[in-house]
Assembly symmetry: none
Homo-oligomer: 103 residues x 4
DNA sequence: ACCGTGGTTAGCTTTC
DNA sequence: GAAAGCTAACCACGGT
């Protein structure tokens, strides 16, 4: 699948910029670099999507195990906020320490 | 930092029990499973965040190399639409096949 | 229904003033303007709801006529994607033109 | 290669919308009806989109006039709930009336 | 440097 | 109960 996909991407990249292909590499080198960048981005976005699916799957398991999906989501959200709060608190603490020469 | 964080999270879990949580007992089986689920989710969300940062970074490189960030984003979006379109087209084709008994 | 409703709305507006509302005075100019804005919005939202119901109705007809609702939805979606794609492509083209000073 | 695919897709898409596309269905009539349905739907969706834009515009005006967009949205939401609540209350009242033979 | 804007993501609602 | 569409919150970016 991934090989096929890679090829797809290359083709699509050259297909996208303009109906006429000569716009693609006005600058040859630059075009290649652009393609490389785009491929890196798309690779990462695939990974991201995969992870999002994994997460969804876990919520599915959760649900199947009898847990309340919505509730667990709320917990996760709360915990994220909690972590944020602590991070901020630490930052403030650092500032204070710096201010009184304890850094 | 990460160890500290993990501990933080565990503490937070026990600190924020959902009302309808089936673990009346802190050491209960259900409670352990819930914690495990939550940890898996949070691990994945961390990964997701990391990937998002990577993507952002690449756009930064792009930009620094002289490419127009906005344009590249548009290209990536366009290519994503392409994939979407294919998906839709396939779905319709399947529906048609089913409709005429070719499924 | 509509007369009753209109009255309702006016009452509700005076009943639910936002804390930071600049009208300290119930009959204030700002208050009147706010009410006018809200009424315009609500009127449009009613229209929107009506249209959504119409669409739903058409799908009902479709279905009753023997068409596969799901398939038709997929077609409509695909066509929408088509439009989207064109929009994106145009945007990219514009960006390119700008980039090479053709804007 | 991908161009081939492109063409495939485009064909599939263009097979759907054109009113004068007689290849779509051997039965002709059904195809025409389908096209008609799709056009009605798309027309309504356009209207819906236009209305949504109008609403957005009003929020823009609001904002420009010094009102807090977010707050006004909250008000509108509240009022919608209010209306819903009343509707439900009326329904219940109707049920009661029916129950005691006052309908 | 801030505001406003657009785009992305997550949550909610409704449908199948 | 899963899936999709809609809506609302968030965030990052560009303009001023």
């Amino acid at each position: 699948m991934s090989n096929e996909k890679e090829n797809d991407m290359n083709n699509a990249v050259s297909a996208v910029p303009s109906p006429e292909d000569e716009t693609q590499d006005v600058g040859g080198i630059a075009g290649k670099r652009l393609v490389a960048f785009i491929q890196r981005i798309e690779r990462l976005e695939e990974e991201k999507t995969a992870i999002m699916e994994d997460i969804k799957e876990i919520y599915g398991e959760l649900s199947a195990t009898g847990f309340d999906k919505k509730a667990v989501k709320a917990i996760v959200r709360l915990r994220k906020i909690e972590v944020e709060k602590r991070r901020e608190a630490d930052e403030i603490l650092e500032l204070y320490k710096t201010a009184i020469g304890m850094s």
